[in-house]
Symmetry: C3
Subunit: 285 residues, 3 copies
């Protein structure tokens, strides 16, 4: 089998050498490892966006991939460094909730304590370089996760975003973050298309399934702004917004070559409602 | 022979995981393929800049390179996905004009229809992941372009930028886009230096050649702003602009460590005139 | 031994194809060379930041690494192109001071004059593509540095940033640049932690060592703003700033998930003083 890549996710941006330095550390330990930038442009400290981005990305990488994830506002505090093993691969980073949405199946977690696999001296400000990049590289080289330190029970988790079925006909969610096009990615999902219907299955929290018909449902934001469905960005008329099933199955509020964020003055954390106007053919809403 | 790289050009920016996910898709199908970022920072939806950037970049990559090009405002609409084969290599992306400036020699085009080479289900919002990245990877693996779908005649083309020789002494062009330094890249070209003269040969549209002497010609923008030539950025005095032959042979309006765009309040699409004041030794202008 | 990577540092940003084109040039000459982006996001023309970034990054890459460094506002002027060899590896770029902080040990410098290792014709505007990228690739292929051109004595140097021990109890420095989080990286360093003390050793200019105790020293900026020490970002209270030993051993003025630059209205080049209030147990300041 081919060796898996080391996939890097940070909030370090691209104007400083921090990500480059982590790649230097990796190439010194594992000269043949292949690194892939997932993105280094997460808004600084935005653990929720980082966690959702990880969740939506991992299905597209090979099993066994090593994810080096450094969104680490608590660097230097007593927060732990961990390696998490799931069905998808290995996730290395601070224990601060970044891996919240990866814990739905069986997993194991170890603390990164073994100083033999760290750059010495470990600084208080750049564990990405001193602890996490070396861990990724040694793991790639075949070091067993349990050699990094003791097994721990549960990684930290972020507060779960709002996603609930309020009563039969209303699904309530919230805006999680905006992408660079100004699309609002919401917590309402995960959907997949099946013929003319949308199969909805809650992706976090309690279980729940629904069948949604685009032509008998509508999205509401703020007091009384109702937003129709569209299948693709190009269907949306200029200066209008629509609800789209985004590429990861989450409902997005989007515009066509414009920013939905700006058109509707949307803010992160804002509530969003999917209203099933008709149920069993009878209009309720 | 070495395997060619997969070169990626998008408008996805660097704050979202979209490019990283496409690389995940590629590495799953072609673990040994080498990817190169051409740029992921094209202004969203800017097909003209994308098309010019492709044109100026391909001479510097190996023959046979696979270009994965996703500037795709029409994703989910009936626009086709295609693979274009030219002397330079293979170009994969939406059929929306992105390949306009690559069609001057013999080429072949196929539609990307074969679902065996697509991620299922194909979404309405991210063909870069579902159709184009897999096509690039399978092509790299040796799948023949004709296995992706039927041959089609002509790819879509963008409106050709203005570039004409108005009469013997005036070449008219337009500003195509600005680079990150604020240099205005114009349609007037392509030039190459030969001793003290500039050899001008029209790079798009009808044929036409001229010999330009820097010391007997001048560039005009707006009503009456005349701009002199410079050979390099460092020759331009502070707070002034000059015409430069850019690295791809197109005339650029540039400043020295300042933004020509801001200094002259330039706008995209704005007309620009190269005035050959002297012709055959006789001053005309 | 593994082949070293080619590490790329520029101010070309990520919205233009310039870095991608340089990688194309490299892959044509050295298809098996591995490139690493150190950062392409240096502020355009900021040689000082580029030089400090290089200095802080090279310890983390393998010996023998080839650094392709193109911050080149003087492209097309008579400034030379050079290859510098140090204990750390090979540094290729314009002779404009970018390598100022790499010259503390034995080194050799050659001018890049041999046209056989350049793309022809060499333009006046993009030596990164025409001269420096080919040099990096040919060097990677095993061409000897002396085959590129004549040995020259001394590369150009930038003005050395202020860093002096004013009298026994005050170290004076300046703000060198800001990172993307708004941390101010200063010239005061290099520090390393040893138990409860900070061992200070001047990293540029004349030699000098001191032992600094965090609890008996303080940092002053502007007329009378005194800033305490913190060990990590997370220790700093909201809306406050503190002095931190950054990951490269330089003193940084930092805030906790906020921008120190904005909180204190800091500017580049601004003076900063480390005041050792107590000396030999006696308070002086």
């Amino acid at each position: 089998m081919e060796n898996p890549p080391i996939v890097i996710l940070t909030d370090f941006g691209d104007t400083d050498p921090y990500v480059g330095i982590m790649k230097g550390v990796i190439t010194k330990i594992s000269p043949r490892a292949n690194t892939i930038d997932l993105t280094q442009g997460i808004t600084p400290g935005d653990l929720l966006k980082g966690a959702v981005v990880l969740w939506q990305s991992i299905p597209y990488f090979p099993k066994g991939t090593i994810y080096l994830c450094v969104i680490d506002p608590g660097v230097g505090s007593p927060r732990k460094g961990i390696v998490l093993e799931t069905d998808h691969g290995f996730f290395i980073g601070p224990d601060n909730g970044l891996f919240t949405f990866l814990l739905q199946k069986k997993y194991n977690v170890w603390e990164l304590k073994n100083q033999s696999y760290q750059l010495q001296p470990v600084t208080h400000t750049f564990h990405g370089r001193d602890i996490f990049a070396p861990a990724a590289a040694y793991l790639w080289n075949g070091v067993s996760p349990k050699d990094f330190g003791p097994s721990i029970g549960e990684p930290q988790k972020l507060p779960i975003p709002i996603l609930r079925i309020n009563h039969e006909s209303i699904i309530e969610g919230e805006i999680l973050y905006f992408d660079q096009f100004g699309n609002a990615i919401t917590s309402i999902g995960k959907f997949h298309e099946e013929k003319d219907t949308l199969q909805f299955q809650i992706w976090i929290g309690t279980e729940g399934k629904r069948v949604i018909h685009r032509n008998s449902s509508v999205i509401r934001i703020k007091k009384n702004i109702f937003i129709p469905w569209a299948k693709s960005f190009s269907e949306i008329p200029p200066n209008h917004c629509a609800a789209i099933i985004g590429s990861s199955g989450l409902l997005e509020i989007a515009a066509n070559r414009q920013s939905a964020e700006r058109l509707l003055n949307l803010t992160r954390g804002e509530s969003i409602f999917l209203i099933n106007k008709y149920k069993n053919g009878v209009q309720h809403g």
